[in-house]
Amino acid sequence: MHWIIRFFTIYRNITSFCALVFVSLWMMSSTPVKQEKIARILSFSIFYPFQFYISQTARIKNIFSENRKLKEDNAAQAAAIAMLKEQAQEGARLEGLLSLRGNYTYDLQVARVVAREPSSVSRSVIISVGKENGVAAYMPVITSLGAVGKVVLALPHMALVQLLNDPSNRTSVLAQRSREVGILETENGEEFFIRYRTHADVAPGDTIVTSGLGGVYLKGLTVGAVTRVVTSRDPLFKKVFVVMSVDFNRLEDVFVIRVKSQWTSFRSELDSLERRQ
């Protein structure tokens, strides 16, 4: 026993280094679900309240000029809204005539991005709205340019949004022109691609929108445009590269679509099964 204490005292630098490396490796080898749950609970209770208040303080600086600009925009948009209302009424009339049933009235909640990931590529952001504003998990988040991501965790006044550029995110999309459905993927958060069957009709310039099949995103939200099509050695599939319509590094204001996920009940069932395991 004595020689162990002596060993640790003499080689304290090496032993502490080895111990901490071992702890890190142990954490890395635990299951992803367990890792994610622990990390999210701890980080929400430790970091985000600080960030929220600092972010709010920093925004006060710009609030006066922003207010003036918003008033100008408001006047311009009032006229545009009047015109759009006319068009909406016309659209509703035509829809009725065609006997189409569509849910185009999104219940939007405006939110501000108050914190980002500290890494070079942001894969999740914190927004300034939460359960108090009717926001819940699996609600889609968009900007005027297109889909941004989905809410993965909602607290009373804040929510964590997983962005589309998170490599663990898979989004069901379709090519607007040919209606070919695929899964949008990314490996590094910057280059996005869809694996289509070789004979799928997809060409550069095609607009990619959400398919609505994943149960989270509503159908028809803009995702991006096809830049190039690469035929790989795999005879069954080709890789279609997509440039995203949203710049994930410049997100400031977003909208949460307050719509209940189609698969909420299914997901809660899965979660309860996971907990039992």
């Binding site: 702890v23 890190s24 890395m28 701890l42 970091f47 600092i54 980002r116 990931e117 590094n249």
Partner: protein, 165 residues
């Protein structure tokens, strides 16, 4: 006296908050400085391997809690970096501020290399995506951060009204 002990923890927390809220607005062509690495560098070079290892671990763990991609990935990387920087402890060897800035630059390269190595251990398919990132992202980020660290050293050498250097 209390402030003497609380100085570094406050600095770590402040840097972490700034890194996640203010630093993105300092980005130039998408390149952001890494305040956490800079503070870890200043701390480890002053207090040595032991302190660097522990601070690096907890700093990395804090980052991991924030970014739960692979829990422990940042902790491992920062522990290694804390140990490496600690080897250049000011009490053991006196180094020029210019040399220290170069050490910081090199540590950034080591940091990102270890980080990528861990990712590759999890998924070998990422190899050809990640290796170019080492040149495209790491080197500009290292240069930007080293420039900020150099500013701190330059400030140290400015003449002060109280007469201290």
């Amino acid at each position: 006296m209390i402030m003497h002990y609380l100085r570094w923890p406050i600095l770590f927390v402040a840097c972490f908050i700034l890194q996640t809220s203010f630093v993105p607005s300092l980005s130039v062509l998408g390149v952001k400085p890494d305040l956490l690495m800079i503070v870890l560098f200043f701390f480890s070079i002053r207090y040595g391997v032991m302190a660097g290892v522990f601070v690096g671990f907890f700093m990395g763990l804090a980052q991991d809690l924030y970014t739960p991609a692979i829990l422990g990935q940042n902790a491992l990387t920062k522990t290694i970096i804390g140990a490496c920087i600690g080897l250049f402890n000011e009490k053991v060897m006196r180094t020029d501020p210019f040399v220290k800035t170069i050490i910081l630059f090199v540590m950034f390269i080591v940091h990102d290399s270890v980080f990528m190595l861990v990712l590759l251990m999890k998924n070998t398919n990422h190899f050809f995506v990640m290796v170019p990132d080492l040149f495209v992202k790491t080197i500009p980020r290292a240069l930007y951060s080293a420039a900020i660290a150099a500013l701190f050293y330059a400030w140290e050498f400015l003449p002060k009204p109280s007469g201290r250097r």
